[in-house]
Amino acid sequence: MCNTQTKSRTIFLSLIFLLFAFNQAQSEEKIKPLEVDWTFKGITGKFDRASLQRGYQVYTEVCASCHSMNLLSYRNLGEKGGPEFSVDQVKAIAANFEVEDGPNDEGDMFTRPARPSDKFVSPYPNVQAATAANGGAYPPDMSVLVKARKGGSDYIYSVLMGYEEPPQGLELDDGVYYNKYMDGQKIKMSNPLSEGIVSYSDGTNATVSQMAKDVTTFLTWSAEPHLETRHKLGLKVIIFLIIFTILVYLSMRRLWSRIDSEK
């Protein structure tokens, strides 16, 4: 009876709760990553445009020497919901890079300046070359990195901020560094950021945490380029559904009142 209903409801809710608990429980084994109040969090979250542009600068000047982003094209930098560089800026950015094209009429490959429609140029021709050049550790492609790591943006930010002196007694091999937040506390990438390594074109002070934040924002966008559209559309859809549900509920009550009142 009533008891059954409450009970079943409790069970149902606890089922949903458990689903979320899985994700929570597993991340608790590790050190909790730093939490940042990202502008893109929450149901109305948007990217900070200036931060995205700075983040792109950090990526090209610091990360891009080892990490590819082969799912992105230069045109993406000018698209809505992203860093939103102007059309001319995007063309200028693309033109900085040389891409291989061809074969031409003679059958030879040739290089030409990149166009907005070209994919981001990778630092290495293939995974093997990248692995060999980095002491046997492949620097992962960063296009969807934020979605490919448990903890997402917070985790990436934490790793960038997590370089420390190793605790006493911990032996580290050559080319292995201590990082508080990295899975297993060992990382094969040396600390990439240092104060002022980038000089921001908009004059922002390039502290390590500022750069880490900017580049993480950029990587979050690159992993989920339609995040802003998704949030906006989602709000509309849910409001619409709620209104529709209320209308249908009232109609249902109306219809069933005939049945409920008949003997």
Binding site: M1, C2, T4, Q5, K7, S8, I11, F12, S14, L15, L18, L19, F20, A21, F22, N23, A25, Q26, I43, L71, N76, P140, S143, V144, K147, A148, R149, K150, G152, D183, A223, P225, H226, T229, R230, H231, L233, G234, L235, V237, I238, L241, I242, F244, T245, V248, Y249, S251, M252, L255, W256, I259, D260, S261, K263
Partner: protein, 418 residues
């Protein structure tokens, strides 16, 4: 009655004499349905929606997806980035699978609670179980298609289950793979079958509904009712609007996942492209398969684990004969009701430990829960259905006996009647 239905228009009559579609639609709208169905009964409609939604979004994704080991991962990202509304359609499809299973589990447990699998509805139940089996196969193969790390290693682990079969195990796995490991041939055949199976499910759903329309719906009180009578209402508009209302509430939750937490039910490792050289630290199936995964891992023997895994599913098919109680609804079975809830908790516990590493306390819980799962069906139910003292069952929905009220709305409407 709809069987003698004659369309009013001349053309309608001409057409209906040759293909009785109008008779069918008349049957579907008039179909006498118990009027005391509660919201647990709306999941049939919700599941139909889920299936159609998965088929439509799946066909759309198939227009852009490339089933090739070198291109699958990038083609999914192409869908997410470049295709107009591709991200939306893909998130509907991937989260839709989870919602589909959420709904099917509620639907199954509804049936367990109210005894809907009992005579004369055994065939409906068996068809439902076949649908569920096909759903698991389809979902598993669909999860392989993005060709991420979890796709690849999930496929490897699950297909390796068959290697436990004595003598022919290796031949079977090689046959499944089309090679000596999960690779491109595996991906392309999984894509082909993933496209096919939903239509088989659709066919079984038609049979499932057909079989349902012979005896008619069970109901919360679990008694046979006269149709049509005071106890029934026409399916349309009374049940359709109720189903629609429940569906909309379901869609609000669904939308919450799609738009605001689209990856929460997935696994981050699946955004790393498949790499046959590196296994992820924890291989976990999608949440809806976790209870079975826990059963598999609870047995220290390879073949034993596989046998138990399949037994846990096939045992359900025999359920109508394991439980011989004449009373259907748990409302009038005070002891069964308790065991029902223990089973729910047991399955949830299996799901929980399925997500955890198979060691220490988790393993112990998994073993106890597995034993209980089988004990519930093989020992408790057969004995209980013979010795349980059930409560008196009402003669009809409109004239319930004391204590037989399944639904608060009913109490309200009856108070009005008094």
């Amino acid at each position: 009655m709809s069987e003698n239905y004659v369309p009013s228009s001349k053309f309608g009559k001409w057409f209906n004499d040759r293909l009785p579609l109008l008779t069918l639609s008349k049957h579907l709208t008039d179909y006498p349905t118990p009027k005391n169905l509660n919201y647990w009964w709306t999941f049939g409609g919700i599941l139909t929606f889920c299936l159609i939604s998965q088929i439509i979004t799946g066909i759309v994704l198939g227009m852009h997806y490339v089933a090739h080991a070198d291109m699958a991962f990038n083609s999914i990202e192409h869908i997410m980035r470049d295709v107009n509304y591709g991200w939306l359609i893909r998130y509907i499809h991937s989260n839709g699978a989870s919602m589909f299973f959420l709904a099917v589990y509620i639907h199954i447990f509804r049936s367990l609670f109210y005894g809907s699998y009992k005579s004369p509805r055994e065939i409906i139940w068996i068809l439902g179980m076949l649908i569920y089996l096909l759903m698991m196969a389809t979902a598993f193969m669909g999860y392989v298609l993005p060709w991420g790390q979890m796709s690849f290693w999930g496929a490897t682990v699950i297909t390796n289950l068959f290697s436990a079969i004595p003598l022919v195990g290796e031949s079977i796995t090689n046959w499944l793979w089309g090679g000596f490991a999960v690779d491109n041939p595996t991906l392309t055949r999984f894509f082909s079958l993933h496209y096919l199976f939903p239509f088989l499910i659709l066919g079984l759903v038609v049979l499932h509904i057909w079989a349902l329309h012979v005896p008619g719906n069970n109901n919360p009180v679990g008694i046979d009712i006269k149709k049509p009578s005071k106890d029934t209402v026409p399916f349309h508009p009374y049940i359709t609007i109720k189903d629609l209302f429940a569906l909309l509430v379901f869609m609000i939750i669904f939308s919450g996942f799609i738009f605001f937490a689209p990856n929460i039910l997935g696994h981050s490792d699946n955004y790393i492209e498949a790499n046959p050289l590196v296994t992820p630290k924890h291989i976990v199936p999608e949440w809806y398969l976790l209870p079975f995964y826990a059963i598999l891992r609870s047995v220290p023997d390879k073949l034993g684990g596989v046998i138990l895994l399949f037994a846990s599913i096939f045992i359900l098919i025999a359920l109508p004969w394991l439980d011989s109680s004449k009373v259907r609804s748990a409302i009038f079975r005070p002891v069964y009701k308790i065991f029902f809830w223990i089973l729910v908790i047991d399955v949830l516990a299996l799901g929980y430990v399925g997500a955890m590493p198979a060691e220490g306390l988790y393993l112990l819980v998994a073993r106890v829960a597995t034993i209980y799962y089988f004990a519930h069906f093989l020992i408790i139910l057969p004995i209980l259905s013979r010795i349980e003292k059930t409560e008196p069952v009402p003669l009809s929905i409109t004239e319930p006996v004391l204590g037989g009220m399944p639904k608060t709305e009913m109490i309200r409407s009856d108070k009005k009647n008094v």
